[in-house]
Amino acid sequence: MTDATHHHVPDRLTTPLQRTLKSWEALLLAVAVAIFLLNSFASPYFLNAWNLSDATFNFTEKAMIAFAMALVIISGEIDLSVASIIALTSTAMGAAAEFGVGTPGIVAIGLAVGLACGAFNGALVTGLGLPSIVVTIGTMSLFRGISYIVLGDQAFMNYPDSFAWFGQGYVFWVITVELVFFFVFAVIYGVVLHKTNFGRAVYSIGNNPVGALFSGIRVKRVKFILFLLTGVMAAIASICLTSRLGSTRPSIAFGMELEVVTMVVLGGVNILGGSGSIPGVVIAAFVMGLVTFGLGLLNVPGIVMSIFIGLLLIGVIALPRLFAQIRQSRS
């Protein structure tokens, strides 16, 4: 209880890993640069502005969800239903497009469905006090299940031409619309998490929910808002992805929740909650994007890439713990 005298409340848990964590973003940045250099030596097609621009699609959609997911995980919860929210919002937008709704209407419907999905998750977690991991495993089946009921083995693809702007448009030269979205949301979430009372509340809930409650933070309301945000970000990612693919099948974005969680954890967010940063997630997005793009140039099939993602997810958490244990056993 000596900590009570300190006025400074750290963002991070004070663990023996503190030093490793402190330099996590720096380490990650070094990895990103190394992969970039490695890729440019490995393939002559890598250092091409248009190729690199295409490569950003590997992470922009996932990263937009990862920002909101980072906040959810820092608060000590998790949302595994994000990929299914993409499927459901995409299905709703596709159905609207079939009825001849214009682009603004399609986008509004997508956002509304995402918001509704987030509210549903949030209500179950905060209203009924259920564990988020089970709730979102359930809604993961439910949301995608509704897409399957609506679509079966069919697909929606009658999107208006103007809808293509989100996923296929360019703002300036090789800078895609999605990349601009990515940076805008990175700044918004960075400010919200690191510069606002709301962000402080998220950290304190993740570190000690009971303590946060006793210090006057409306824990349930904050968590509910976080699930809403995740739903909305999944909807925005769905708008981009649907627009880019130009069609909706119920299997859209299948398994993406894993990549989003991997990105967040790779970015240095503690999976048990309480610590992490948005800059870390941004760099992690670049690392994952570069890895998948580089492997793609080397003709590595997607499923083999998923082995790398899985190893990355476990390795990123396991290695620091392993080193810490070795260090402890030596001293």
Partner: protein, 327 residues
């Protein structure tokens, strides 16, 4: 005693299954004929076997999302072995499947035990790694029926006293789990670890080791299912049992296994699996598209977990909650 049983999860599930069957029988009496019920049970056998392993994991406050990928990997390995060595007896294949499955489960368990990585992260990772390895082994190709030996394919269909081998496996597994959960120190330690890890440590139980054993058991069941699945459908490919881990978790949650650990029973898990099995088999009979299956199991998970929470609330106060938080 009787009133207590009537309020229990098992009684509610029995009532739900019986009324579901009765409802279907009013329109389609053929569905409840003994022959068809045997088919339904046989079709649910793989789910029952996997749910038993998953039950142990969830009891210890963990979750195993890699079971379906484990099924696919073990299934592909034994199918490949069969094409290379058609003479290998089924007993050897079964042993290989059990050992390989247990090893894959032990990898999960070691990461949870030795490095204290949350189970959800570990198994999300190994889920994709295992599936990726299936692709590497098979090169994305299918192993079809004509490439498998007759003995390999026919074993799960062999009938003994009117029941196929597959069903017998499920029955034997359930009996083993009843004995293990209720009559062995290991079974009790699953409950102790899940109920209160701090107290478990003070009673001399190694929490991490218990979780490791739960994962190994879950993996072993997945390995067994791997062989049974591949030989029953006489095909092995990368995506077999895709998404089945969710159905397995659903069976456990519906069966009254608390995701917070420490609460549940073998009978509940069995009934939870049977409940899903009856729904799955009834859908085509009552002319509902199989595309409804996913949404129904999702809803079932949510309803069951909400129900579990309601039941948990009436049980009494949680003492030492703050102490548990530090765990």
């Amino acid at each position: 005693m009787i009133s207590q049983f009537l309020k229990s999860r098992e009684a509610i599930l029995v009532a739900a299954i019986v009324s579901l069957l009765a409802l279907i029988a009013t329109r389609f009496p053929a569905f409840v004929e003994p022959g068809n019920l045997v088919n339904v049970f046989n079709d649910t056998s793989t789910l029952i076997i996997l749910a038993m392993g998953q039950m142990c994991v969830i009891l210890t406050r963990c979750i195993d999302l890699s079971v379906a990928a484990n099924v696919a990997l073990t299934g592909m390995v034994v199918a490949t072995l069969n094409t290379l060595m058609p003479g290998l007896p089924v007993a050897a294949i079964l042993l290989i499947a059990l050992v390989l499955g247990a090893c894959l489960g032990a990898i999960n368990g070691l990461l949870v035990w030795k490095l204290q990585i949350p189970a959800i992260v570990v198994t999300l990772g190994t889920m994709t790694i295992f599936r990726g390895i299936v692709f590497l082994i098979s090169d994305g190709k299918w192993i079809n029926a004509h490439e498998m030996s007759a003995g390999f394919k026919d074993f799960p269909r062999m009938e003994l006293a009117g029941l196929p081998m597959l069903s017998w496996f499920a029955i034997v597994v359930v009996i083993c789990f009843v004995v293990m959960i209720n009559r062995t120190p290991l079974g009790r330690s699953f409950f102790a670890v899940g109920g209160n890890p701090n107290a478990a440590v003070y009673t001399g139980i190694d929490v991490g080791r218990t979780q490791f054993l739960a994962f190994t058991i879950s993996g072993m069941m997945a390995g067994l299912t791997g062989y049974l699945w591949v030989s029953r459908f006489a095909v092995a490919y990368v995506d077999i049992a895709g998404g089945f881990e969710l159905e397995v978790v659903a069976a456990c949650v519906i069966g009254g296994i608390s995701i917070a650990g420490g609460v549940g029973s073998v009978a509940g898990t069995l009934l939870g699996a049977l409940f899903l099995g009856v729904i799955k088999n009834a859908l085509p009979v009552i002319n509902i598209s199989p595309f409804w299956q996913l949404a129904i199991s999702g809803s079932a998970i949510i309803i069951a977990v909400a129900f579990n929470a309601q039941q948990g609330r009436t049980k009494g106060r949680v003492i030492l909650k703050s102490a548990e938080h530090t765990a």
